[in-house]
């Protein structure tokens, strides 16, 4: 039975649980001498929850783990004994076998796959049957348990309330758990990397050339400082030089000067800009901005100006971030009470004096937080640098020279053909971890600043 049918079956059982629970509760309550604690509908919800929720929970978990169980089962059969004993190749054969088991008409590369497909199919069916049976059994068990507890004195209302809370809690935990598990997996892969390459080599080494990794001293060509520098230079310096003034000025214009009509159409446009896919900015950077900058650099006398300059990537990234900075600044300027603004006007201050002396100081923490968030977005940005920056890892202050970033290198490391446990690919995880930690810290600081500042006005 497939998961969908099972899902509907469980929900159907839940409905039956609801109806029978209600009927029983109604009967018992009518017969009871005293006033009962909960109404029939609440008993019904209680029974329905016990019927459906544990079964659904099990179904979810089972869907997640059963593929691995099937795979292990297949590997233990004699038919799988002839498979290569490790890694990549075996996985691809198993993958094909699985495909063939689902759809015998499909073509296959490996003959072995065709051979073990029936075994695979059998294992899949067996586990699917086990899962279905267990789910239905759980639904019935839950039903029986809850049904038997329905009595006039039973506090179904409180229980239902608590369950609702639990369900909401789980829903909100999912995002957190996902982030956490990403972090853990990064941590594990990075640990494997740091087992081979000393962490000091990685964090402080200034030479980055993952194409040629010496087997005796892999750390020597995996020093990430040029990447950190490039990321910082492009994302936190060049991009911010563009984004901060323009973002701030547009926020000031929109909140303080623009007529309501202008604001009404300009703000949505800015927000739409924030939604433009970054790949669009990427080719704008690569095809339009980068050549123009190269020509400009040549004109200035830089003979060998690269068409993949840090400046091109940084400028376009800055433009991409403008709406972001502007909307954060807009919010925090708008949050300054009008009374404060009027107070300044009533003293005879002009608009720009009011902005400079009252609004900006009062909204500064929010604006700063917005900038930190913008930096964390910029340094995590990938597409623009993939398209417009080069792979050359140099430490330079010259914006016309090429530079590379952490994100760009992660892409390069993972798109080449390499085994999944070479230092080269593992380095990608270490870079990912570093990026994760940095943006995470930036976000925490920014949120704390925002929070402190909110309190000041309440």
């Amino acid at each position: 039975m497939n998961s969908f049918a099972l899902l509907f079956l469980v929900l159907g059982l839940g409905l039956i649980g609801w109806l029978t629970g209600r009927a029983r509760a109604g009967r018992l309550i009518r017969a009871a001498p005293k006033r009962s604690h909960s109404r029939p509908g609440q008993h019904a919800a209680y029974v329905a929850m016990w019927t459906a929720l544990p079964a659904l929970l099990f179904l979810t978990v089972w869907s997640a783990i059963s593929p691995a169980l099937v795979r292990d089962a297949v590997l233990e059969t004699p038919a799988a004994a002839s498979l290569p004993s490790f890694g990549f190749q075996r996985d691809s054969i198993l993958g094909e076998a699985r495909m063939l088991a689902d759809n015998p008409e499909a073509g296959a590369f490996n003959e072995e796959a065709r051979a073990i497909a029936p075994v695979y199919g059998a294992a899949e069916r067996r586990y699917s049957w086990i899962g279905s049976a267990a789910t239905i059994l759980l639904a019935f068990a839950g039903f029986a348990f809850a049904y038997s507890r329905v009595t006039p004195t039973f506090r179904a209302r409180t229980r239902v309330e608590r369950t609702v809370m639990l369900v909401l809690l789980i829903a909100s935990l999912i995002a957190i758990l996902t982030t956490l598990s990403i972090f853990v997996s990064l941590l594990i892969e990075s640990a494997r990397f740091f087992a081979v390459v000393p962490i000091t080599d990685f964090l402080f080494g200034t030479h980055w050339s993952p194409q040629v990794i010496s087997s005796t001293d892999p750390g020597e060509s995996l020093g990430a400082v040029p990447l950190f520098w490039g990321t910082f230079f492009i994302g936190a310096v060049i991009a911010m030089i563009v984004a901060i003034p323009f973002g701030l000025m547009s926020a000031i214009y929109l909140t303080q000067y623009a007529a309501p009509r202008v604001r009404r159409w300009m703000k949505p446009i800015l927000e739409v800009l924030a939604g433009v896919p970054t790949v669009v900015y990427g080719y704008f950077a690569a095809l339009t901005v980068a050549p123009a900058i190269r020509d400009f650099a040549v004109m200035l006398g830089f003979q060998y100006a690269s068409s993949e300059s840090a400046l091109a990537a940084g400028l376009v990234m800055g433009v991409m971030i403008i709406p972001f900075v502007s909307s954060m600044a807009d919010d925090s300027i708008a949050a300054v009470p009008t009374a404060m603004r009027d107070g300044s006007f009533a003293m005879g201050a002009t608009r720009s004096e009011t902005i400079r002396r009252v609004l900006i100081p009062a909204s500064l923490p929010g604006v700063v937080a917005g900038m930190l968030l913008a930096v964390s977005r910029a340094i995590g940005e990938t597409m623009i640098v993939v398209m417009a920056a080069s792979g050359a890892a140099t430490i330079t202050l010259n914006p016309f020279e090429s530079a590379t970033t952490v994100t760009k290198q992660i892409v390069d490391l993972l798109t080449g053909e390499a085994e999944f446990d070479s230092p080269k690919t593992l380095a990608a995880f270490a870079l990912g971890l570093t990026l994760f930690v940095i943006t995470f810290l930036l976000n925490i600081v920014a949120l704390r600043v925002v929070k402190k500042y909110r309190e000041a006005y309440e």
């Binding site: 007529a259 603004r341 107070g343 300044s344 006007f345 009533a346 003293m347 005879g348 002009t350 004096e353």
Partner: protein, 273 residues
């Protein structure tokens, strides 16, 4: 109130219940205010005296704040507001193109219903206006302006040891007196107060009322209030507004004991409003 400077003390000795002979400071003639299609002030004409405190009373929404704000052109900050008619300050038309709003607001200061100190130090709050208008070239002058404004607002003794604390850290009543000090610091000629005590407790209110007495004569003062007793206590002239009209204007004692208009009487005796 020992800190009050000579001019204030002089007028302080006059009987607060009796209006002084009028020396007209501001005049309004046939003033109308529109918020879009909403006709908020209708043909209001009034003279504001230099020596007296003028109270604006009337039911909520009748246009007291709106009219008050025409006197220092604060309605300019509301894009949909339109003002017609003539308003003069010492005979000068304040809506003429020669009148600089910045100058005008330095001469006609304003205190709001809710205390609104800037999120700056107490010192900087008071120094804000003088700094903008370039009144104190040297630090010493500024210190002096700040001290005298705080003294006149009756706040000096309470804050002199913590001038660098944030103005927002004061109590509500202290904040309101800080806002008055802020308005006084640019040495205005007129001070407009829009329900300055409505966010304060009775003790803080009494302090502000005392302050208004002390300031009478040094500045022309216009105060909007919902509190009849307050109007009777602090003002010598009272204007009663209703639905955008100025219904009656005269000596406070007259208005409260012997109103000429039926509507005024009804409002004062609490029959509506």
């Amino acid at each position: 109130m020992t800190d009050i400077q000579a001019p204030a003390v002089r007028t302080n000795q006059t009987d607060p219940a009796v209006a002084a002979p009028a020396q007209i400071k501001m005049t309004a003639r046939d003033v109308n205010v529109f918020y879009g299609a909403n006709h908020a002030i209708k043909d209001v004409s009034i003279d504001v005296d230099m020596e007296n405190v003028t109270a604006f009373i009337g039911p909520s929404g009748c246009g007291k704040s709106t009219f008050l704000r025409t006197l220092n052109r604060m309605n300019d900050t509301i894009s949909i507001a339109k003002v017609t008619g003539d308003i003069t300050l010492d005979g000068e038309d304040i809506y003429s193109s020669d009148m600089d709003v910045v100058q005008l607001r330095a001469r006609v200061g304003m205190v709001f219903q809710k205390p609104n100190p800037f999120p700056k130090s107490i010192y900087e709050n008071v120094a804000y206006g003088p700094r903008i208008h370039g009144l104190a070239p040297a630090r010493r002058d500024m210190d002096q302006i700040v001290e005298s404004a705080l003294r006149r607002a009756g706040l000096w003794e309470e804050v002199k040891d913590r001038l660098s604390d944030s103005g927002t850290a004061l109590s509500g009543g202290q904040q309101q007196r800080l806002c008055i000090a802020r308005a006084i610091a640019v040495d205005p000629e007129v001070i407009l107060m829009d329900e300055p005590c409505s966010a304060l407790d009775p003790i803080a209110t009494a302090k502000i009322e005392e302050l208004i007495h002390a300031l009478r004569g040094k500045y022309a003062i216009v105060i909007v209030t919902h509190n009849m007793q307050q109007a009777a206590r602090v003002s010598q002239k009272t204007a009663f507004f209703h639905l955008g009209h100025l219904v009656e204007y005269g000596e406070t004692s007259e208005i409260f004991t012997n109103p000429r208009q039926e509507r005024t009487k009804d409002y004062i005796t609490g029959r509506y409003g």
